[in-house]
Symmetry: C2
Subunit: 188 residues, 2 copies
């Protein structure tokens, strides 16, 4: 009780608890190894283009975090790509991950700087020539050739400041730059 | 009626309609511009680390495709990352997108080659040092430093063949290689 009443009350900016954020940043600065996180997913094929991932536990800030319930995500392909359209397709999930991460990165970094944000919305487009995936054209890349993101932000801060803050995004780094993916396949 | 009865019945391998797949591949070969697809997502910030994407229409195979209902995806951050844990976080969505795409790519390419697959499951891990995201360490990358994917496949085909087929994956290409992302921010 005493401890609770003596602690500074939490302050929120942009819905982000900046008291907790400041504490986290100080801890990370004092103990850099707390920055090591490991995220995980399990996926199971259902049939055709349909499969489902489960995300639950992860490691971070020096300990294991087990969520009480798992998040599930269902991927499928639309009929034109020979699927049953029971979920967004994998490259659409990439657009979501990118939009979500740019938004959160902007909002958190703005909160840490005391910049207030009233609203954020974004529209994304990704161009892909499926001849790359099919193997019909070796000179066509398999993934998106490019992605465009238009963010609209209600804020008094300059747009270029907000853009710089959004670019702290881990997913922006992941898709913009190369990342080593170790793939191993085992048959049974 | 005549046309229907004269058409070959659909054949499925791995749940993939290989009759339709063959027809698609022939069309793409004859008319390469049908390969141009554009996928889209809209995202709206809710507060703090919470935001939601909507995926519905896309362009492909020479026409617009409007799904009858939209898919929504909710991203949030866990409490240790100052969020409310109402959804997987953006980098966890990347793992899902990658797992889903490797799986579908393997399954489709196997079907096209007549390789039967009985089951696929995968386990993914991504390492990330959040000091990169926070800006506390300039020499630490913001995204994953590396990702490991272990796929287990029930099939008589050799594991290295299946691995080659999985690597047709567009998301594997997107995360393994660099991709131009044009980000624009507008304030209002």
């Amino acid at each position: 009780m005493l401890q609770q009443t003596m602690e500074k009350p939490s302050t929120k900016i942009n819905g982000v608890d900046v008291t907790a954020l400041g504490r986290t940043l100080r801890l990370l600065n004092e103990e850099p190894k707390l920055g090591a996180f490991q995220f995980r997913a399990s996926n199971r094929w259902i049939g055709g283009g349909l499969n489902r991932s489960t995300v639950q536990g992860f490691y971070g800030a020096g300990e294991e975090h087990g969520r009480s319930k798992a998040f599930t995500m269902t991927a499928d392909e639309p009929p034109v790509l020979i699927g049953g359209d029971q979920g967004a397709n994998p490259v659409e999930f990439v657009l979501h991950a990118l939009a979500a991460c740019l938004t959160t990165s902007m909002v958190y970094h703005a909160a840490a700087r005391g910049i207030e944000i009233g609203a954020v919305s974004s529209e994304l487009e990704g161009d892909i020539d499926v001849r790359g995936f099919t193997g019909l054209a070796d000179d066509v890349r398999k993934g998106y050739s490019n992605v465009r993101v238009k963010m609209t932000v209600a804020s008094a801060a300059p747009a270029n400041t907000l853009e710089t803050l959004a670019k702290f995004s881990p997913v922006y780094d992941i898709v913009s730059n190369s990342l080593p993916v170790e793939l191993s396949v085992e048959t049974r």
